[in-house]
């Protein structure tokens, strides 16, 4: 048993020229697979990463995103007295009304335009989102048309550097600081003062309300909101709101799976070709092994292992090829908020393992028929063959 395996492993190395293209072929398939999936993972993680587990988000009933929600000032006032609302050290309730506005900005390098989410936020709103960190510059001052933007957005869009001014509609906004959302959905946002945003963009109402309450009392809060006729609002945990926004990743996953399937069919054919040729040119060696007393099963397993090793090397190569793209930042359209979402390719260990398993599967399928053929070679005839 041990000999054919060693024989097959060595064969992979000895006939490197003929196997190299197969390895490359499988490697490229795996690379595409890993890249596409890492894109989907990165996108999903940016939504899964967002939100504080103690926070509750309130939106208008029926709305599917903060951008399409409305909360009036009267409603916001009523909400200040909800049961279970936590307070800060000064005794102020931890509740904030945000104003969400979509603005169109130009991408860097003439790459067209995209919608960006502007979040009008209060002091309390900043406090409620500890994930967001000011990394450069300073905080905006209310009333001065100042904004702070995510550094990742600034890398992708024109005129978002600190000190720069950009225009939207008829208004000019000055960037005074950069924030880092630590791979959360806030990495795709521009922040400014909530009331500034309302007056500047002509909004009567706020968009959503974020508050902090003891999770054990969330039911109480929800019941209170639902039972109050003056509050046509719904409550949802902040983390859940964001983690529900992963639908954008579905088409990417679909595309990735489609590509992987189609390309792997091609790769199976290629692997089969190589393995058949490899079996064909070693007919005599196989015959010798059989004469030496090795069983058909051993030959079969040996060739399968050869194919698997071939594919494994290809898979590892593919993962290596995909690796440079890890943490590369990119963006696409989030269907729920209708705005650009910035995220990173994220290659995780389970994904690499999946890629390798995928490669080995391709190798095994590709070498199955050639291996069966090798194990069924008639001994005498194969010894005679040149």
């Amino acid at each position: 048993m041990a000999l054919p395996i060693q024989y097959n492993i060595r064969s992979v190395l000895v006939r490197w020229r003929s196997t190299l293209s197969t390895i490359f072929g499988i490697g490229l398939v795996v690379a595409v697979y890993v890249m596409m999936q890492s894109l989907a993972i990165g996108l999903e993680q940016s939504s899964a990463n967002t939100g504080d587990p103690r926070n509750l988000l309130l939106m208008r009933k029926g709305s599917t995103a903060e951008t399409s929600s409305q909360v009036t000032r009267e409603q916001f006032k009523l909400l200040q007295y909800l049961p279970g609302l936590e307070k800060d050290e000064k005794g102020e309730p931890l509740i904030s009304a945000d104003t969400m506005i979509l603005i169109t900005l130009a991408r860097r390098g003439n790459q067209g335009e995209a919608n960006i989410l502007v979040r009008g936020v209060t002091k309390m709103g900043i406090y409620l989102r500890p994930q967001v960190e000011l990394i450069q510059g300073r905080m905006f001052e209310p009333g001065r048309r100042e904004v702070i933007v995510s550094q990742r957005l600034a890398e992708r869009f024109e005129k978002l550097g600190i000190g720069e001014t950009f225009k939207t509609g008829g208004h000019e906004l000055t960037v005074v600081g950069w924030i880092d959302g630590h791979k959360s959905a806030f990495d795709s946002e521009i922040w400014m003062d909530s009331d500034d945003a309302r007056s500047l963009f002509d909004r009567e109402n706020y968009s959503s309300v974020l508050l902090r309450a003891d999770p054990t009392r969330w039911n109480e809060v929800t019941n209170r909101v639902e039972s109050d006729k003056r509050l046509p609002l719904m409550t949802i945990s902040e983390s859940k709101y964001y983690s529900d926004q992963t639908a954008t990743a579905t088409p990417i996953r679909f595309l990735g799976n489609f590509l992987a399937t189609a390309m792997s069919i091609g790769a199976v054919f290629a692997a089969m070709n190589t393995m058949y040729a490899s079996v064909g040119s070693r007919t005599r060696e196989v015959g010798t092994l059989r004469v030496l007393g090795f069983r058909r099963r051993s030959i079969l397993i040996g060739f399968l292992i050869e194919g698997a090793i071939l594919a494994f090397i290809g898979g590892a190569l593919g993962c290596l090829l995909a690796l440079p793209i890890n943490h590369y930042s990119t963006g696409t359209l989030n269907f729920q908020t209708f705005s650009e979402v910035v995220f990173e390719f994220n290659i995780t260990l389970p994904l690499i393992i999946k890629g390798l398993v995928f490669a080995v599967t391709v190798g095994l399928i590709g070498s199955l028929f050639p291996a069966i053929r090798a194990s069924r070679l008639p001994v005498i005839a194969s010894l005679k063959s040149l």
């Binding site: 490229l28 595409v32 067209g112 008829g170 963009f201 359209l333």
Partner: protein
Amino acid sequence: MSIGGFILRNAIRNKRRAFLSVLSVAVSLFLFVTLLVGLRELTQPPHDTGSAARIVVRNKISLGNLLPSRQKATIEKMPGVEAITPFTWFGGKFRGEEVLFGQFAVDPKVLLKVFAEARMTFEQFEAFEKDPTACIVGIKTCEKYGLKIGDFIKLQGTFWPLDLNLKLVGIYKGSIDDRNLFFNHRQLDEMPGSTGEVGTWWVKAKTLDAVAPLVQEINAAFSNTTAAVRAETEQAFQLSFISMWGNIKMLVLSICSVVVFTLVLVCASTMSMAIRERFRELAILKALGFRRRELFAFILAESFGLAATGALIGVGGASFLFNQTEIVVNASQNFLIAFEMTPRIMGQACVVAAILGIVSSIGPSLSVARMSVVQGLKTLD
């Protein structure tokens, strides 16, 4: 045996290998054209005859901001305007779920003037105009949900704080996207608490020449108001929509190049395998007096033939699948509209196949050229 017959016999001598090579080329080319067709679908919206004369006016801040309805009167008076309709995205849930078909509030009286392509009977149009709670729906959506005339369609507002109960009075077809639902804008205007806002204005110009000045005039007319607008042709509007997809185009193109590269690799290795097997025969041919040029021609013809057969199966299969059947469109649940193969994409795939055939014959040709007859005759494998 003729030379053609000789090449053909050689190509299919190892039937299994020829079969596998052709299939792997076919699969790869199929993938290649699918990606290109998909990319075209996403980046080049199908545009119809009327679209060149249509202007879309939206809020300058972004599409997510609304426009005041008073703007209609100003635009209407401009010279060169044939018709103007509000066009407001409703985005309601239907039967409790978010749906792929668009729902738009429009002005039924001018709808036909702005969108001349849609086909519907006159009676249905009349009914749509008369009844403010009426709606018309594209035939594809009707088929998908089994809707017929007289049905009531309940839409639960997500963006608008309003639920609609619309009566289906007309089913249109023949427009570029037979999926959408149109209803009377009065439903939104008369909503309690309405401030009279619309999503976009769609303006039809009288002539194509009037489009460019009209765009300028509309932009200038509102530039210093509280609701500055951006007017652009329908095509420019669609393109700005597409640019929101971000780097998808680059992504798909780079995948395409990876596919092509893999293809070349596989094909080249198959060819060199096939040639290596026959080194001795080629040496004999050389000894018989065949020139290098002729040997090259044999090799080239064989690899070209393999690639061409693969292209025929892959590209032909894809074009049958996309253009003759609606499998892909249906599988995407009408997310994709046309998904059609164009002659251009077919041409691109054929060019790739041709390059493939040529490139993969280079390696074997070189080794044949280098081989000396004696050495070749000695080769056993």
